[in-house]
């Protein structure tokens, strides 16, 4: 009786750890791809695409993994607040950057131009 309860407990822990690991791996993959994109893309307007999208999803995936690991507690509520804030603030910051570059008169890169 005790043994089965223990086994069920271990099984749930394993499932939780595996879900956390998958979320962390996906999140880290997206974050690294975002960094590669920021290095590889040819001009400023293309570079804000990875910064605004891939980074947002990657960070949210890592934080969701931490939430799953933590279970339901005050810490996971705080993580949820951080996720909502990132989802609102990250696109806004990118939009502000793009607008500043546009006001400063930066022209977008066309196919065939030299990379800058």
């Amino acid at each position: 009786m005790v043994d089965t309860a223990l086994a069920a407990d271990i099984g749930w822990m394993d499932v939780k750890t595996v879900i956390t690991g998958i979320c962390l791996v996906i999140g880290c993959f997206f974050i690294i791809v975002a960094s590669i994109g920021i290095i590889r893309f040819p001009d400023f307007y293309s570079r804000i695409h990875p910064a605004g999208k891939t980074d947002t999803l990657g960070q949210s995936m890592v934080l969701i993994g931490l939430m799953v690991y933590e279970g339901f507690s005050l810490v996971s509520v705080k993580l949820l607040i951080i996720i909502i804030f990132i989802f609102i603030a990250n696109p806004t910051a990118t939009h502000a950057l793009a607008n500043a570059a546009y006001v400063a008169g930066l022209k977008p890169w066309q196919k065939g131009d030299r990379r800058k």
Binding site: F30, Y45, G52, A98
Partner: protein
């Protein structure tokens, strides 16, 4: 009205962040949330009608799952474009009039455009005119079809023009 509502929201937020239930913590929570509500109650709620604001919030929550699906699609698209050796991008700028009227709708549409495949908002003004940078011709055309604008207009609902 907006003062009391802001104070209640701030108090709830404080309780979520601290999690302490001692009497000194409760007193400092009440005092500081009242101070914050006095300073900034016109920023959070403003002159919005509470009831229509609440139904708008419900419609916004119904919009979120579609947005998350679009975010996942956007990321797969961007991962493909980033890791492809020859980098299949062909950037262009497009301009369109979204016919949105309220500040809320314009903000939601601007953030959604940034989060969805291949497009980033560069300029959005209060008359609803948008300037968008697209990574390729396909995403720009699918944005101009106007599915997202229709969804955001539905969130905006019956709210009249506020931003005079």
């Amino acid at each position: 009205m907006s003062f009391i509502l802001t104070a209640i929201i701030m108090f709830g937020f404080w309780m979520f962040l601290s999690g302490e239930l001692g009497i000194i913590f409760i007193i400092s929570a009440v005092v500081s949330s009242l101070i914050v509500a006095y300073i900034s109650h016109d920023l959070l709620i403003g002159k919005t009608d509470i009831r229509s604001g609440f139904s708008n919030l419900l419609r916004l929550i119904r919009y979120v799952p579609w947005l998350i699906w679009q975010v996942i699609l956007a990321n797969l698209d961007l991962v493909y474009r980033t890791l492809h050796p020859s980098m299949p991008i062909e950037p262009l700028m497009i301009k369109f009039d979204s016919k949105l009227k309220t500040d809320t709708g314009i903000t939601i549409l601007a953030n959604s455009i940034t989060l969805t495949p291949g497009t980033v908002t560069v300029k959005a003004d209060r008359n609803g005119e948008f300037m968008v940078h697209a990574l390729a011709r396909g995403p720009a055309e699918s944005l101009l079809e106007g599915t997202m604008q229709a969804k955001v207009r539905k969130i905006e609902g019956s709210e009249e023009k506020r931003n005079v």
